[in-house]
Each structure stands twice: as structure tokens, then as C-alpha cells.
């Protein structure tokens, strides 16, 4: 394997389930490359095929067609003992932890070491202690899973997944059953393991917040396909797909702020020379004194309505809601200039936006009724 070859390389993966009366194509011709040291987020709604796709990596799910290469090994060709050996190098954690209820915490972590590890009994115990220490649960060694909280259970599951010193950790909705505070502590732990052990992490989730806080790359999945992918910053600052925008919105609340703004009378009755816009920017483009330039160069007055800045991958990503007012075509010229600076401009027509909101609300209502 070449030094810079991806640690996980999926090529043209298709997974089809045959049921009695129909066939379901859960994953459709997906290519995915994960580099060593990545924390790769895969987001999508439930049923998008995320879990099926990641199970192809350790072959818990065999692909119908396509090629799976992990650490240079062609996984599809492995069977029996060779496959089980390869799996020991791919840790996995789950939404519902999947700990063994009748074994203590220590024995749960010990479990992978009982399956053919060549360590001595003493070394195995030492390894278990070291792992429990790593996840901060040393004092729970002799407790049973039923005595632990969800976050603690997931920590045990992480320790178990790391018992065989894997190079890859697959996280299948591992934080979805946890509260926000516990979620962020588990995510911090994953990030920490990534940095400390050089662990490559593949993280599936439906929460963009989780992706935002630790991933460096992200793929968005819908109906078995990856509809958009890239590094975190690009996806967040310049999403191209509607679904991606939806996911980003769930974590940034820009639309919620906009909905508030358009409800205000002063915004509903904008003058002809006034314009409601949202500027989105990432990284270097935020260094220039853009707002000051608007007035100095174009005599355009910006009225700031709301704004937020987040730090993703040590780079600021911001959104700014403004009303711009200026003489003649000054506003248009100013916006053209802003676009040249690498800032994404979204012009909003208040009437259209309100109609859009009303339509969405009606949709949500019918959905609720459908569920009830």
C-alpha cells in the first residue's frame, strides 16, 4: 500500500436486500475514500443507507458489488479466520452500546482479548485496566452495565472497541441516544483518541452538530447515495445540495433567526433601495474589513440584524443578516463586490420568504397528522 493511499477505500459499492416481494437497493454505487487520521462524518436521515454502508467496511454486511479495501486488504475476498482477524483492526461502537449485560465492565472490555489474543493473562488484565483508565472508568471495573449511565456505557463500548488496538473506529450513531452534554463528552473522547492514537474515525450520525464539532470531512447521504462530500469547511460554507443546507440549518439556526426578522414590520416594509441579505463566509475572507468597505466604496449603509460565527477546524465560519440601503444601483454593485471577496450572498425577498415559511409550516402540520 502506498504511503498516502486511503486507509478505507470503497469503490462502486452496491448493497441490495432481497425481500419476499421486492428488492431494496440500500446503497447505490458509492465511492468513499477515508485517509488515515481522518474523522469522517457521514450524515443523513434514517433510512439513507449510512449504517449499511459502514457495515460494509468491516463486512458485517457483504456488498452486492464493488470493492472494499481496508489498510490495503481486499475485504471482500476474506473469509472465516482471515476476515475475523481483519475485523479486530476495525473497532465499532453502536447507538445502543451493545454491552453484554451478564458480564462486568472489566469483562466486557476483556471480551475481545479472549478470542485468540496472544497476550498473557496478566498482560490482558493490564490492557483492560489501561483502557478503562483511558475512558475514565477505572473505578467501575467490577460493576455491571445495568448500573451505568448511557454515557458511561458508551465509554465502556469504546474501551472494548479499542481492545485489539484497531486503526479504525466506526461509530454508528454512537451519540444519538445520549443527552447533549454526554454527547459532547463522548465526541471529545473520540477526538482525543484520534489525536492521541492516530485513530481513523468514521462517524455516522443524523446530528450535524456532532459532525461540526469533531469531523474534518463529511459526506451527506440520501437514498443510498452520497449526494455531497468534502472537507468540513467547504461543506459548511458552500453547501450545494438542498439536503446539505437543511442539515447545516439544523445546527446553525440561521433560518430561525430569519423567520424572526421577516416577522418584524420594519422589515416587511423595506424601501425600494433597501435589500435583505444573508452573507456567509469562511476563513480568509473574514479578514478584510468588508462591512466598512461597503460604506466607504459604495456609500451603502449596512444595518446588522443578526449574526453568528463558529470555529470549524480552527477556521471561523460566519453568517450575517443585513439590511443594505444605498442610492441607485449602489447596493447591487456592493453585492457584486462582496461576492468577489469569496463571500456567499443570499438575497431574500420578504414576501417570498414568508410564503415559503407558511408552506413549510403547512407541510409540517400534515406530517404530524400523518404520524398521529
Amino acid at each position: 500500500m502506498a504511503a498516502n493511499a486511503p486507509i478505507i477505500d470503497l469503490k462502486g459499492i452496491d448493497v441490495t436486500f432481497k425481500e419476499a416481494d421486492r428488492t431494496v437497493r440500500a446503497v447505490k454505487n458509492v465511492d468513499l475514500e477515508v485517509a488515515k487520521g481522518d474523522i469522517y462524518g457521514i450524515v443523513g436521515y434514517s433510512g439513507a443507507g449510512k449504517s449499511t454502508l459502514v457495515r460494509v467496511i468491516n463486512q458485517l454486511q457483504r456488498q452486492t458489488s464493488g470493492k472494499v479495501t481496508v489498510s490495503g486488504q481486499n475485504m471482500g475476498a476474506l473469509k472465516g479466520k482471515a476476515l475475523r482477524q481483519a475485523r479486530t483492526k476495525i473497532g465499532m461502537i453502536f447507538q445502543h452500546f451493545n454491552l453484554m449485560n451478564e458480564r462486568t465492565i472489566g469483562d466486557n472490555v476483556m471480551f475481545p482479548l479472549l478470542l485468540g489474543s496472544k497476550l498473557s493473562r496478566h498482560d490482558k488484565q493490564a490492557k483492560v485496566d489501561e483502557l478503562l483508565d483511558l475512558v475514565g472508568l477505572s473505578e467501575k471495573k467490577n460493576d455491571y452495565p445495568a448500573q451505568l449511565s448511557g454515557g458511561q456505557k458508551q465509554r465502556v463500548a469504546i474501551a472494548r472497541a479499542l481492545a485489539n488496538d484497531p486503526e479504525i473506529l466506526i461509530s454508528d450513531e454512537a451519540t444519538s441516544a445520549l443527552d447533549p452534554k454526554t454527547t459532547s463528552s463522548i465526541l471529545d473522547l473520540l477526538k482525543n483518541l484520534n489525536e492521541k492514537l492516530g485513530l481513523t474515525v468514521v462517524l455516522i450520525t443524523h446530528e450535524m452538530q456532532a459532525v461540526k464539532s469533531i469531523c474534518n470531512k463529511v459526506a451527506v447521504m440520501q437514498s443510498g447515495e452520497i449526494v455531497e462530500r468534502g472537507d468540513l469547511l467547504t461543506i459548511f460554507s458552500k453547501p450545494t445540495q438542498q439536503l446539505t443546507k437543511e442539515f447545516i440549518e439544523t445546527s446553525s439556526q440561521i433560518d430561525a433567526a430569519l423567520a424572526n426578522v421577516v416577522a418584524q414590520p420594519s422589515i416587511q416594509h423595506l424601501q425600494a433601495n433597501e435589500r435583505l441579505v444573508v452573507l456567509s463566509y469562511a476563513g480568509a475572507s473574514t479578514d478584510d474589513p468588508l462591512i466598512a468597505q461597503l460604506y466607504e466604496q459604495f456609500k451603502v449603509t449596512p444595518n446588522i440584524l443578526f449574526g453568528n460565527v463558529e470555529i470549524l477546524q480552527n477556521t471561523p465560519v460566519g453568517n450575517l443578516g443585513l439590511v443594505l440601503s444605498g442610492e441607485g444601483d449602489a447596493v447591487d454593485k456592493a453585492l457584486a463586490y462582496v461576492k468577489e471577496q469569496g463571500v456567499t450572498v443570499r438575497q431574500i425577498s420578504v414576501a417570498e420568504y414568508q410564503a415559503e415559511l407558511a408552506r413549510k409550516a403547512a407541510e409540517a402540520d400534515t406530517n404530524d397528522e400523518g404520524e398521529a
Binding site: 468491516n58 458485517l60 479466520k81 475475523r84 482477524q85 481483519a86 475485523r87 479486530t88 476495525i90 473497532g91 465499532m92 453502536f94 445502543h96 451493545n98 454491552l99 453484554m100 449485560n101 451478564e102 458480564r103 471480551f111 475481545p112 479472549l114 478470542l115 485468540g116 455491571y144 452495565p145 445495568a146 463500548a157 472494548r160 472497541a161 481492545a163 485489539n164
Partner: protein, 232 residues
């Protein structure tokens, strides 16, 4: 105290029991012998068949449609045959196996065949209750099918297995009462062929009391053990 322990007292309320003390001691042993031996053999068979049903079922770790179908149907058929008929029907097979078709040892064969499928179903139900996610987690760390069976399925289902074993043993004791039909002896036989047929009601009642005592002891010990192993 002295009056309760005195032979006079027992002779006055259960005259026939006292007269037939040796019969009771022997038939109690016969019941225990039949329960124990057929219980152990049926237990082993039932666990093997139960495991086989779970792992070969669709979606199981060794899914195999044909094996599952055959086992499933066999279990259903043998569970459906009334025990008293089974005793008679398999008599030739019993003779082939133990050399005779009457007597306590001969009763072991139908008792085993009558119990194993019942127990297999109970084992299957206990194992199926092990969370699929736990099995998947074991597969993900590289456990082999044998390791999953012994270190995950049987271990995780242990409290349920103990409980279902108790149910099975108790129903097996019930079956031993019918073994008298082929000369198997035991407490059931004593209750009917001595107590009932000769109108010696105290014998019937005493046989019942001893069987109840055995059942209660097994139930209590089983419950204690199951509770001790259960950490859910």
C-alpha cells in the same frame, strides 16, 4: 413433638403409607432417577437443538434454511405427540436402544424424546432474546460462531436458561408419573396402581405430597440461582 414423630400417630392417619414405606422409598428413587437421567440427556439434546435452531434461523450467525426447516418441523412433530401415545409408539425403538421396552430404564427413552423438543423450544426462546446488537458487537470484534455461541449466547441467556430448565424439569416430573404405563414405576405409578386402584387414598395423597415437595425444592433453588446470575 413425641406424638408427631410416633409411629402410632402416622399409623392412625396414614395406615397404608406406613405399611408400604419401602414402596414409597423405592418409587421416590425411581422418580428421581428417571427425572435426573432423562433430564440430563434431554437437556444436552435440547440445548444442542435449541442452539442449532437459533444460529441456522434466517438472519442467524450460521443461517441455513434447510437445516432450520428440518429441525423446526421435527421439534413441532415430537412436541405434538401426546406422551402416553409416544410411550407406546416408540417401544420398538426403545427395545433397540436399551434391550427392553418395559421397566424404569426403558422409560428413560420416551421421557428423553418427550422432553428434548420441548426444552429445545425453550432454549431457542431464551437465546433469541439475546439482543441482536450484542451478537453484532461480538462479530465486529472478530468472534467466531463457536465463540459467539459459548461466550455470548449461552452466557447472556444464562438466567433465562436456568428458569426454562426449571420449567422443563417440573414438566418432566409430570411425565414420569405416566411411566407406570410401561412398568417404569415411580411415584405416579404408586399413586394410581396402589393408592387409586385399591382405594387406599392416603397412598395417593402421600405420593402427591412427595412430588409437590420435589417440585417446590427445584423451583426455589432454580429461582435463587437464576436471580444470582441475573445482572440485567
Amino acid at each position: 413433638m413425641t406424638t408427631i414423630l410416633a409411629t402410632d400417630f402416622w399409623t392412625s392417619i396414614m395406615p397404608n403409607v406406613v405399611a408400604n414405606k419401602d414402596v414409597f422409598i423405592q418409587s421416590t428413587w425411581e422418580t428421581i432417577y428417571m427425572t435426573l437421567v432423562s433430564g440430563i440427556i434431554a437437556g444436552i439434546l435440547g440445548i444442542i437443538i435449541g442452539i442449532a435452531l437459533v444460529v441456522t434461523a434466517p438472519g442467524g450467525i450460521l443461517a441455513n434454511r434447510t437445516t432450520y426447516w428440518i429441525l423446526d418441523k421435527l421439534v413441532n412433530i415430537f412436541r405434538s405427540i401426546p406422551f402416553i401415545i409416544l410411550l407406546a409408539v416408540i417401544a420398538p425403538f426403545t427395545r433397540l436402544l436399551v434391550g427392553t421396552s418395559i421397566g424404569t430404564t426403558a422409560a428413560l427413552v420416551p421421557l428423553t424424546i418427550g422432553t428434548a423438543p420441548f426444552y429445545a423450544r425453550q432454549v431457542q426462546n431464551a437465546l433469541v432474546d439475546v439482543d441482536r446488537g450484542i451478537i453484532e458487537a461480538a462479530e465486529a470484534v472478530g468472534a467466531s460462531p463457536m465463540q459467539i455461541i459459548f461466550r455470548v449466547y449461552l452466557r447472556e441467556a444464562l438466567p433465562d436458561l436456568i428458569r426454562t430448565s426449571v420449567v422443563t424439569v417440573i414438566s418432566l416430573i409430570g411425565l414420569t408419573a405416566m411411566a407406570g404405563a410401561i412398568g417404569g414405576g415411580g411415584l405416579g405409578n404408586t399413586a394410581i396402581s396402589i393408592g387409586y386402584d385399591r382405594f387406599e387414598n392416603d397412598i395417593t395423597i402421600m405420593a402427591m405430597i412427595i412430588i409437590l415437595a420435589i417440585v417446590f425444592i427445584i423451583q426455589i433453588l432454580g429461582d435463587l440461582w437464576a436471580r444470582k446470575t441475573d445482572h440485567r
